[in-house]
Symmetry: C2
Subunit: 158 residues, 2 copies
DNA sequence: ACATTCCTGTTGACGGGTCAATTAAAAAGT
DNA sequence: ACTTTTTAATTGACCCGTCAACAGGAATGT
């Protein structure tokens, strides 16, 4: 009953085979899945969950360390951290020797939220990984690594 | 020299091994690469390039067809199309039998921009693909397909 | 001591992308 | 014919993410 031009879209639209396009779609879907899962369960956004996990794993850090280690934007971190401090998830304490930095750590509430959320997230990751054959997974990791390197190339060399 | 907590970040921060996180990073880098390439060469944004390619391949379409075929948001399409019509890249002609729809097609300028941009984009895609071994590439496609399906799962079943 | 340079974190501005509400037109039901 | 229900497209609100500008504070060099 569908009579548009796209009944077999992948044949008709070469764009849809572009690698970047496929990755973009997968990313969007994974993002949406994680976001609903997080907001249903913990009221966190994806960024804030990542920050929570990073601070949780690092113990006590500084914003700039997080930015470097996880390749997150300073501004994004700053804004999210402000909210998370206000929400009582993260403690930001002025550093004695460097007046610019705040030493970040999880509050008790932050840690317990982290610990209650982590299993669900790990379970999701496990489900995702389980949807792939073992060798597919290792190849996928390798391919992503190579693509990330190839994406660093800037076409200014001619 | 570097003496922070993240000298071997991947060991210390399990988050960084999360599949979704890796994909997210690759996506961001690919996005940035495509965006600079496009704006350097043609002044297009990534969304608009995609729309240009979709309309170019489809011949004459309607907004809703594009939205369905490429899983793009209606609002995003509408806004971008307005700009592209104003820029003279796309022709939007009122449909005779359905007063709501605009029949979209490339203008001459749109087609020539498409044709001058396509090779560069294909070249980039080729470079990206070439960074992977042939079997890695096919596995990557298969894995992305499976992941996309797994990402459709909503955790409301328990 | 002082000027310069570097680093840290905050803020503003902007495009990308999603969702919901709305308007208007077509199709379907009665 | 008229009401109701779908569908097409636009618009507004909102968050995410990136980039650039900025305002201290710290390090460096002289």
């Amino acid at each position: 009953m569908r009579d548009d031009n796209f009944s077999n879209a992948e044949d008709e639209l070469p764009l849809l085979q572009f690698l970047t396009y496929r990755i973009s779609r997968v990313h969007a879907k994974l993002n949406a899945q994680a976001s609903t899962l997080l907001s249903d369960h913990s009221g966190l956004t994806l960024s804030r969950w990542r920050i929570l996990a990073l601070v949780g794993a690092a113990g006590q850090t500084r914003l700039s360390d997080l930015a470097r280690a996880a390749a997150l934007d300073k501004g994004l971190l700053s804004r999210n951290l402000k909210v998370m401090v206000a929400d009582g998830l993260i403690d930001a304490q002025q550093d004695d020797i460097d007046q610019r930095v705040h030493l970040l750590s999880l509050t008790q509430a932050g840690r317990s939220l982290f610990e209650s959320t982590l299993p669900r997230m790990q379970e999701r990751q496990a489900k995702l990984r389980a949807s792939l054959a073992p060798d597919e997974l290792t190849t996928l990791y390798a391919a992503l690594e190579k693509l990330e390197a190839a994406a660093d190339w800037r076409g200014d060399s001619a």
